[in-house]
Every structure is written in structure tokens, then in C-alpha cells.
């Protein structure tokens, strides 16, 4: 057998073997991975939307809306919003009332901010009872005239949140992303 024939045969066998193993593996890991992704999305939707009977997906403009119905009445809309944080791309799931005037809930889907500082927007270890206090503030928040933040004091207005000490930029980024995308989503929805 010539050398080049041997090379071809050996490499083919190895790659065939590799492909076969991976195909087999994919058969039973793929559904699990998909189920997990669904689970993550549903958990976010549960946090962003109020109690509802069913959720319907609608795509309008650049946004994919998740419309929550109670009976026949639409009670809230959720959509994804993303933008730049302090050092990473922030992805949020935000729910609003159908007139876009009040936030029904907002959660962070993805962030890679500075550990221990910017990550507090998702989980603040210093606050043992309520580590998610920052995003919790957005539930019930008014979006008019626009969401704003205050530092080192309790927010006085119904459109204000308290920024995280030491992570002002990440806090500000969340506020800006929400302001920008709520407006854009409203325009897309009403088209």
C-alpha cells in the first residue's frame, strides 16, 4: 500500500469515527440543551410579565414581542432590549403594559460586567435578603417622561431608580437601554 493511500485511509477513518460519535452524542444532548434554553426564556418571561393565561409571540419591526393575555385581554408585552454596559453587552428582557407607560418587570438575560461591581445589577451579594434589588426596582416603574436614576438616596419619583454605588455606569446603562428600547418598541408595535 502506498504511503499516500495510507494517509488518506487513516484520516478518513478517524474523521468518520469522530463524525459518527458526535452525531450520536448530538442525538441525546441537543433536546436537553434546547429545553434548557426554553427554560431560561420562560423564566425571564415569568419575571417580566404579570400573571397570564397564555403568551403569544408576535414579530413586529425589529422586535419579537411576547404578548401576555388574561382571557382575551392583553395585559402586557415583553421584548428583548440590549445595549452596551460598562464593559460588555447587556441583554435584558423587559415587560411593559400594552400602552408602554409602565414596566411590568425587567430581568437581565446576559451580562459580563466587572465581577463584584457591575454584576450587582443582576445580583448584589451585599444585600442578602434581596440580591436582585436593582432590577426589582423597575417593576411598576413609570416610563414617562423617562426613566432616570438617583445616587446615594432613595428615589422620590415613580420614574426613578436608585443607582448602585460604585457601579453607576452599569446602572446608567440599564436605564439608557430601557429608555431607548421602550420608545423604539412602542413605535414598532404601533406601526
Amino acid at each position: 500500500m502506498s504511503n499516500s493511500a495510507k494517509i488518506i485511509i487513516v484520516l478518513t477513518v478517524i474523521t468518520l469515527f469522530s463524525g459518527g460519535v458526535l452525531a450520536l452524542l448530538d442525538n441525546f444532548t441537543a433536546p436537553k440543551i434546547k429545553a434548557h434554553q426554553e427554560e431560561v426564556k420562560n423564566r425571564a418571561l415569568r419575571a417580566a410579565l404579570p400573571d397570564n393565561d397564555r403568551v403569544q409571540e408576535v414579530t413586529k419591526g425589529d422586535y419579537r414581542f411576547y404578548a401576555a393575555y388574561r382571557g382575551d385581554e392583553m395585559v402586557a408585552l415583553a421584548f428583548e432590549a440590549s445595549g452596551g454596559g460598562y464593559q460588555s453587552e447587556l441583554r435584558l428582557m423587559v415587560g411593559v403594559t400594552p400602552d408602554f407607560s409602565t414596566i411590568t418587570g425587567a430581568v437581565i438575560l446576559e451580562q459580563v460586567e466587572t465581577p463584584g461591581l457591575g454584576t450587582k445589577i443582576q445580583e448584589d451579594p451585599a444585600n442578602k435578603e434581596n440580591p436582585g434589588w436593582f432590577m426589582g426596582q423597575f417593576t411598576g416603574l413609570r416610563t414617562e417622561p423617562e426613566i432616570s436614576y438617583v445616587k446615594n438616596e432613595e428615589p422620590g419619583n415613580d420614574h426613578e431608580v436608585r443607582a448602585i454605588t460604585g457601579a453607576t455606569i452599569s446602572s446608567k446603562a440599564v436605564v439608557n437601554i430601557l429608555n431607548e428600547h421602550i420608545k423604539k418598541a412602542e413605535a414598532a408595535w404601533n406601526e
Binding site: Y86, L117, T165, G166, T168, I169
Partner: protein, 393 residues
């Protein structure tokens, strides 16, 4: 600072003693002790001089190699002499900060100095080098580190910063003279990255607004102890601070960055004694002035005026006492100019467009890293060098 000057009189080769003696003497950096190369050539210099100080035995020896552009000459200086002079030059600023911030600032200063000395001693013992805590460099590092911290910085964290400064800023490179970065700023950078909230929790001076003589921009000062630095106020709240409190030091901020006048007094003494190269503060502050001045002229509403840029934050402290560190600044005049201009540009960029309100530390550390390169690029050509190079080709 380093042992660029030496305790030994000019007993050597007369050819080397002439010309620009004072200027060049400062530039001499003994390389690592292990380097035996050139030992015999340097030997005549090592004639023991009367024991003026105990360090002499360490630096006079034949182990020492001088690296600097020729011609060389020896001054009367010694490491301890330089270090203690710089410490004395810092004293007005230290006194001013204790006056403004009270005993709490004194505690921070003492903890930093003490921890730095303990760390230095421990490293000396572990690395089995001679004990060097009496040369003043550890004291100076501790002092400078404390000057860059807020007065109410936790004691344990101050001590940690001083230990990091000595161990990771200096001793891991082989001790004084071999470090690439300013040790005090290494300590400060570590603390900044470790405790970003605590290191930006500022205290306003004890009597910030009780005296009408100093009109301070923060009206809240009466009922609160914490406040922002002028730079922070400008960056995050858009509030300016008057120049007079900036000049005297009645503002929130780090221990040593408040009183511009006291720092200037010490800095000018260093310049007169030529312990600090005048080109560094001039080019650093000058660049900040020109760069931020140009921006201010373009749009005064968006950019602060250049005097504010110079007097606020740690620029004066950094420019006179940290950037001029003999070990971590270039040895050639041209390199020094580039070094200063580079720091000025970095500082303005960080302050105006960066995420942090203050950039003195990073601007100096960044340019410190380029110093070996600057020394290489700006090395003066010696006579006949070009011909030799072309011959090789």
C-alpha cells in the same frame, strides 16, 4: 527614586569627570548587582570614602555597573540622602493634609509607612539581600502611597496596599533600581482595582464650609462628611470648583492631592536641588495645560478650563513626586520630554473621555512601562557609531 548618585568622590578617570557633571550624574543607574561585567573597570571608583552612611558599602562595591549615556561623573549623593530629601520636601503637603483632614489622615500615613518598612524588611530577609529599610525608599513609597488614598481608607487595606507596593512593585523585580513601575502607584493601582468603592469614598476637610474664607462648591458640606472630589463633581455632576480652595487644599480628595501650594513648595525644592528633572513636571503639566486649554477654547461648556485641570486631582503630586522617580523615568533629555508629553496626553484623555474621573496614576504607570523603550530610542549616538553600523551591513 534610586541610587543614581553615589557616595563616592570623583577619584576616577579624569576624562570622565568633565562636562555636564551635575546633569549626568543623576542619570547613572547601577544595574543589578549580579552583573559583574565591567567590574574591573569600575573598580578605581570604589575607593572607600569615610563612612558617611551605612549604605555606602552596598553601592561602592565592585559589583556595581553604571548604565547611562557617557560622559559619566560621580556626585556626592547617596540613596538615603535623596530619599530623605524627597521625604522632607513632601512634609509641607503632609502637614497640610493633617491640618485639613485631622488625625485620621495621620493614621493612614503612619500605617502605610510602617507597613512598607515591615514588608521591605521581610523581603530583605527572605531574599537574603542586605537590609535596606534605612535607605528611606520604603518610607517614601509608604508616604507616597498614603498620599494617594482617601483619608478614611480602611487601615487594613492601607497596610495591604503598602505591602503590595513593596513586594510586587519593587522587590520582585530585584529591589530598588530594578523596578519598572513606580512602587507606590502599583500599590495604589492594586487598591483601586480591589476596593473601587472605598477608594472613591471621599471625606471633605474637617471644616470644609465653616470658614467663609474658603468658598467651596459643595453646599452639602455642612451636614455631611462624605463628598466628591472636584474632578468627580465635574465629571458626574457637572459642578465646577473654585480655584482658591483647590490651591489651598480645602477640598475633598486624597490625602496628598488637596493642597496644590504645599505640594508646589516641596516640588520646587526638589527641582532646585535637581533631585527631580525639571523637564518632567514642565512637559507633563504643560501638555495638560495646552491640550485641555485647546479643548476648552473649542467648547468651554463641555470641557473644564485648563487651570482647573492642573490644580484638581493628583496632577501636582504625580508630576513632581511620582513621575520624577529616578528609577522609572527616562535618562535622556529627549526621552524625558516624550515621557512627560505622553503622560499629559494620557491624563487628559482619561479624565475627559475615560470611565474614571482621575487618570494621573494610569498615565504615569503607562509611561513607566515605555521608559526602557524611550531610553533605547533616544540614546545619544557616540562618535563613529553610524559608520560602524553601516560597516556591519
Amino acid at each position: 527614586m534610586t541610587e543614581k548618585k553615589n557616595d563616592i568622590k570623583e577619584t576616577q578617570d579624569p576624562a570622565k569627570t568633565e562636562a555636564s557633571a551635575e546633569k549626568q550624574a543623576k542619570k547613572e543607574v547601577p544595574a543589578e548587582k549580579q552583573e559583574k561585567k565591567g567590574a574591573s573597570a569600575e573598580k578605581p571608583k570604589a575607593k572607600p570614602k569615610p563612612k558617611k552612611n551605612p549604605r555606602a558599602k552596598l553601592f561602592k562595591s565592585e559589583r556595581m555597573t553604571i548604565v547611562a549615556p557617557a560622559p559619566h561623573a560621580k556626585g556626592k549623593q547617596s540613596v538615603p540622602r535623596i530619599m530623605y530629601t524627597v521625604i522632607i520636601a513632601l512634609l509641607p503637603a503632609v502637614a497640610a493634609s493633617i491640618f485639613f483632614f485631622g488625625t485620621r489622615a495621620m493614621v493612614t500615613l503612619m500605617v502605610a509607612v510602617f507597613s512598607a518598612m515591615v514588608a521591605e524588611f521581610a523581603c530583605n530577609k527572605i531574599m537574603k539581600t542586605g537590609v535596606t529599610i534605612d535607605d528611606g525608599s520604603a518610607i517614601l513609597t509608604g508616604l507616597l502611597l498614603a498620599m494617594t488614598l482617601p483619608p478614611t481608607f480602611p487601615v487594613a487595606a492601607t497596610a495591604l496596599g503598602a505591602v503590595i507596593a513593596i513586594v510586587f512593585g519593587k522587590q520582585v523585580f530585584g529591589g530598588l533600581g530594578a523596578n519598572i513601575f513606580n512602587p507606590a502607584l502599583i500599590g495604589r493601582a492594586f487598591l483601586q482595582a480591589s476596593f473601587p468603592v472605598k477608594i472613591t469614598t471621599w471625606t471633605l476637610p474637617a471644616f470644609a464650609s465653616s470658614s467663609a474664607y474658603f468658598d467651596i462648591a459643595t453646599s452639602k458640606a455642612v451636614d455631611t462628611v462624605s463628598g466628591a472630589t472636584p474632578l468627580g463633581l465635574w465629571k458626574f455632576e457637572g459642578i465646577g470648583t473654585h480655584l482658591k480652595p483647590l490651591l489651598f487644599g480645602n477640598i475633598g480628595g486624597c490625602i496628598g492631592e488637596t493642597s496644590a501650594l504645599a505640594l508646589l513648595a516641596g516640588g520646587i525644592v526638589l527641582l532646585i536641588l535637581k533631585y527631580a528633572d525639571w523637564r518632567i513636571p514642565l512637559s507633563y503639566i504643560g501638555t495638560v495645560f495646552l491640550f485641555s486649554g485647546a479643548l476648552w477654547l473649542i467648547d468651554p461648556s463641555r470641557y473644564p478650563d485648563p487651570l482647573f485641570m492642573i490644580l484638581s486631582g493628583g496632577l501636582i503630586l504625580g508630576a513632581f513626586f511620582m513621575a520624577t522617580d529616578m528609577v522609572t523615568s527616562p535618562v535622556t533629555p529627549l526621552g524625558t520630554w516624550i515621557y512627560g508629553i505622553g503622560m499629559g496626553v494620557m491624563l487628559v484623555v482619561i479624565r475627559l473621555w475615560g470611565g474614571l474621573p482621575e487618570g494621573v496614576m494610569y498615565s504615569i504607570l503607562f509611561m513607566n512601562g515605555l521608559v526602557p523603550l524611550l531610553n533605547r530610542w533616544t540614546r545619544p549616538k557616540y562618535f563613529g557609531e553610524i559608520q560602524e553600523e553601516s560597516k556591519k551591513k
